[in-house]
């Protein structure tokens, strides 16, 4: 291949073309595709193109190097000028016009061709853009002068398509016009080429694309414009062709030189390179919502986060974040604004989400987006789950908070939204503070009782609230402690009365636990697991047991005093509500076996051992019984109001009837009733009781299913409470003794009615005292809780962000 000598113009032109074809920006090789396109645009036949390619040596090399490209161009020029294609002629032919290429307008979406009408030349003369024209004109040689059509002086003659710098839509119009003009054209010039539309291109400005991954384009890729202005040769030019000389339109084109040497000059406006465009497009393709973070970006952010803070759930301190974002070279004010937007919880540190939001905002700002006033929803940090994709909208900070007392236990958490800050850093939502689900007063809602439980036996009419949900809150525990230590009754959490089957295990256990703490002072020990039926029986048994004064170790069952009447469903802790009902029924009780208005707190008078009546007592087999039986006869005659026993006996008997082992006990009940009808002798009573006890026990044993938990309960309790109950017994016995002492002289002959009434009165009084105590304790607790609540509310108010204004 002979060396190629190119004129300056040619040199420039060819280099320009080469750069154009050098899509890959290698500066060494022009891409084949582009080159071939170019050649085809030269409007040469394919055969000629092939020949040229072959000649220039590209086929040998397989690619178009710079020299091959130049040679090819020269050959094209040769071909276009109609000269035979020969290598020798490369250098020999002088004044070879530059090859012309006609390119389609839409060869690439980024390229637009604008054709300028050459006013003066009326045809395929492309005037320079006005600006350029001015510039060039200044230096234009006079010879060139006419060649350089100006847009300005002949605006009227120019086609309306005077090229704005950016009017792609007009270009086809102009082009067609040119064609028409060309066709109509002057004889002077060759109509063959309506104009050379040069796909302009330019080296991508290094500016827009920075190395740090910033994107230079906005979301809709800006229209990449390119246009070309050609100035065609003046009519005086004899050249049929108008060799355009490509010029880099950038500032330092030696326009003057070109003008002098060339009748034409083309100005090429460059456009960001395809590569840049593609890059931009790729990078902006994800933007539906300008603030949405694509996965790719998010991954990038996460990686950046890791460089600062390895733990993805950790926080980036403010200083580190400041350094990092300062590197982005944004002004401090904007960075400050970005920080304010992205630091959701205002803690001076960034979580992963906050960091991604901040980074995203920085990127957007770099790309020219204005910073929003408020954080866009898609950038808001998620509140809970780190794994969720961004974009979970969070409620406004103005959403009210509902506070729940601190003492709400984890059991209550189902009612609380998981908005509690699970992330230490913050799943940022607008709400910086925990949101509580409910404003609940602990004292009222912590335990809910099932008030729908209908008494199995309507006669009993003792509706004890069965806790539906046991929340072993510390409050409850505290309360239980209080209850235990304080006095007496009712475990708020485990109000059991007459429905053992419904008792929950927890309550029974709680009751079991509680028993040791019960004092003896009142006969109403909190025997939660008690059933009213058991109480009388056990109390009866205890009575007899205590007669002996020996606390039989063998007696595993010591019944604590019967609990006070169960509180209403509406109260967790109060007791007493059913007392009236209970007591009202009491007087009629003795005669009616079915009536068991058993005031739970009634300690059987005559026997000091009345108090602790563990229902587990029943499970105690014979050990206690013989003792009881042995003692009872002795004590029986001593107690003038032993008749009470009979009542209780009746009750006791009745209770099991209520309980559910009814069938087996009913007979006993009847028997008992009969016996109670008469002034039983001690022996009889004892025997009856014994029988009852035995039968009951046997019944209990025989009907293990009756209340399966009950025996368990009793056993549990029995161990726990045996000793304390043993101690309780003497105390209770004293109480009972005192009570009994008040009526030492009541003759039995007065009648059961009176006795019953008095007994009920006594019971009521005792219950009253117990309840009063309980009430005071509860009041105290309530006060404490209210204080806590107030303090919490104050704290909440202090913490509440001011933004709610």
């Amino acid at each position: 291949m002979e060396s190629l000598t190119l004129s300056d113009v040619e040199q420039k032109y060819y280099s320009e073309l080469f750069l154009f074809c050098d899509v890959d920006n290698t500066k060494k090789v022009a891409s084949n595709g582009k080159v071939l396109d170019l050649f085809r645009a030269a409007q040469l036949s394919n055969e000629v193109v092939h020949q040229i390619t072959e000649l220039c040596g590209a086929t040998r090399l397989g690619h178009f190097g710079r020299s091959q490209f130049y040679i090819a161009l020269k050959l094209i020029a040769l071909a276009q000028s109609g000269l035979p294609l020969r290598v020798e002629s490369l250098n020999s032919v002088r004044d070879l016009p530059l090859p012309r290429f006609v390119m389609g307008k839409n060869e690439q979406e980024m390229r637009h061709v604008v054709m300028f009408a050459d006013t003066e030349n009326q045809g395929p003369y492309l005037p320079r853009p006005p600006g350029r024209v001015q510039a060039k004109k200044v230096s234009a040689h006079e010879m060139i002068q006419p060649c350089v059509p100006t847009v300005d002086p002949q605006p009227d003659t120019t086609s309306p398509v005077v090229s704005p710098h950016q009017s792609p839509p007009t270009s086809p119009h102009a082009w067609r016009k040119h064609k028409r003009q060309a066709s109509g054209g002057n004889v002077d010039r060759q109509p063959s080429v309506p104009g050379v539309v040069w796909p302009p291109f330019r080296e991508a400005q290094p500016g827009p694309v920075t190395g740090d991954g910033m994107w230079s384009a906005h979301s809709p890729p800006p229209v990449q414009e390119s246009w070309v202005s050609f100035t065609d040769t003046p009519p005086s030019c004899t050249l049929p062709m108008h060799p355009p000389s490509a010029q880099l339109q950038q500032e330092n084109s030696n326009g003057g030189l070109l003008l002098l040497t060339q009748p034409e000059s083309t100005t090429v406006r460059t456009v960001p390179s395809a590569m840049t465009t593609n890059e931009i497009q790729r990078q902006t393709s994800g933007y539906d919502d300008p603030w949405k973070i694509t996965d790719e970006q998010r991954q990038y952010y996460i990686n950046q986060f890791k460089t600062i803070q390895a733990d993805l759930t950790g926080l980036i301190p403010g200083s580190a974040a400041k350094e990092f974002f300062t590197k982005s070279k944004l002004p401090i004010l904007e960075l400050s604004h970005i920080w304010e937007l992205s630091d959701f919880d205002k803690d001076g540190a960034l979580t992963l989400d906050e960091f991604c939001a901040a980074f995203h905002l920085v990127v957007a700002r770099k790309n020219g987006y204005d910073l929003p006033e408020k954080l866009p929803e898609s950038l808001m940090p998620k509140l809970i789950d780190l794994d969720d994709s961004a974009g979970v909208p969070e409620p406004d900070p103005e959403v009210g908070f509902s506070a729940s007392p601190v003492e709400v236990t984890p059991n209550k958490s189902p009612s609380m939204p998981s908005l509690n800050q699970n992330w230490p850093e913050l799943n940022q939502s607008n709400e910086q503070w925990e949101t509580f689900s409910e404003r609940s007063s602990s004292s009222q809602t912590l335990t809910q009782f099932d008030s729908n439980i209908a008494p199995a036996d309507p006669d009993t009419a003792i509706v004890h609230p069965v806790p539906i949900r046991m929340t072993p809150s510390k409050i409850h525990m505290q309360e239980m402690e209080l209850k235990r230590t304080g006095s007496d009754h009712t475990h708020p959490t485990s109000p059991l009365m007459a429905k053992p089957p419904e008792l929950s295990e927890e309550t029974k256990l709680a009751a079991a636990i509680k028993f040791p703490g019960t004092t003896v002072g009142d006969g109403y020990s909190s025997s939660d697991s008690f059933t009213s039926d058991q109480e009388p029986i056990s109390s009866a048994v205890n009575r007899q047991r205590s007669h002996s004064g020996t606390s039989p170790e063998g007696l595993k069952v010591v019944a604590p005093p019967p609990p006070p009447p169960r509180p209403n469903a509406s109260h967790s802790r109060s007791s007493s509500l059913d007392m009236n009902r209970n007591f009202a029924a009491v007087p009629a009780g003795p005669q009616q076996p079915g009536v068991v208005a058993f005031p739970p707190a009634v300690p059987p008078r005559p026997l000091p051992t009345q108090t602790s009546v563990p229902h587990g007592h029943r499970s105690v087999e014979g050990d206690g019984l013989p003792a009881i039986t042995s003692t009872s006869p002795q004590q029986m005659p001593e107690q003038p109001n032993f008749a009470d026993f009979s009542q209780f006996q009746v009750f006791a008997v009745d209770q099991p009837a209520d309980d559910g082992e009814k069938p087996s006990d009913s007979g006993q009940v009847e028997r008992c009733a009969e016996t109670t009808g008469t002034m039983r002798t001690a022996k009889n009573d004892v025997q009856a009781e014994e029988r009852n006890a035995t039968t009951v026990n046997s019944a209990k044993v025989s009907t293990p299913l009756a209340p399966p938990p009950k025996p368990v309960r009793r056993r549990l309790k029995s161990e726990d409470e045996l000793r304390p109950d043993v101690e309780d017994l003497p105390q209770k016995s004293t109480v009972i003794a005192t009570v009994l002492a008040t009526q030492p002289s009541i003759p039995r002959s007065i009648g059961k009615d009176k006795k019953a009434i008095q007994a009920s009165i006594r019971r009521n009084k005792e219950t009253n005292t117990v309840l009063a105590r309980l009430n005071s304790e509860l009041q105290q607790q309530l006060k404490d809780l209210l204080e806590e609540r107030i303090s919490l509310e104050v704290q909440l108010e202090q913490l509440r962000p001011f933004s709610h204004l």
Partner: protein, 137 residues
């Protein structure tokens, strides 16, 4: 009706007034009120950042406005100036305003890009203050 909110740390950090003209007057007011603040502080001697109120009453016979002051732990003083004609403002409201101001100020301080001692240029802070002023006055 002229009102102004100023944050001063012995030099103005932030001044916002409604209407926006006449700021110079408020500058003057601030400086005079600072003296009174110092007086109060030295007098009371409390170390806690209690909400303190500075009620000046009539400073000038011609212009009546009230100046309320508040000082933070870090000796940054907030001053609110209101027209006396606006008698509907209660003490509690002023206190709540100061609390909100303090909160916003804290948030601004948390911004690592903010150098303490710079004038406060945060847009968020501005918006909050504007809201507050509009709401209260």
């Amino acid at each position: 009706m002229q009102t102004a909110i100023m944050i001063v740390a012995n030099y103005p950090l932030y001044i916002r007034s409604v209407p926006t003209q006449g700021e110079l007057k408020f500058h003057y007011t601030v400086h005079t009120s600072l003296d009174v603040v110092e007086e109060k502080i030295s007098g009371v001697g409390k170390a806690l950042a209690d909400q303190r109120e500075l009620y000046l009453g009539l400073l000038y016979p011609t212009e009546d406005y009230k100046v309320y002051g508040y000082m933070t732990n870090s000796k940054v003083k907030f001053v609110i100036v209101v027209d006396s004609s606006n008698t509907s403002l209660r003490d509690n409201e002023i206190r709540s305003m100061f609390r909100k101001l303090h909160n916003s100020f804290t948030d601004v301080m948390c911004n690592p890009f903010y150098n303490p001692g710079d004038p406060i240029q945060s847009k968020a802070f501005d918006s909050i203050v504007s809201t507050m002023m509009v709401q209260a006055f």
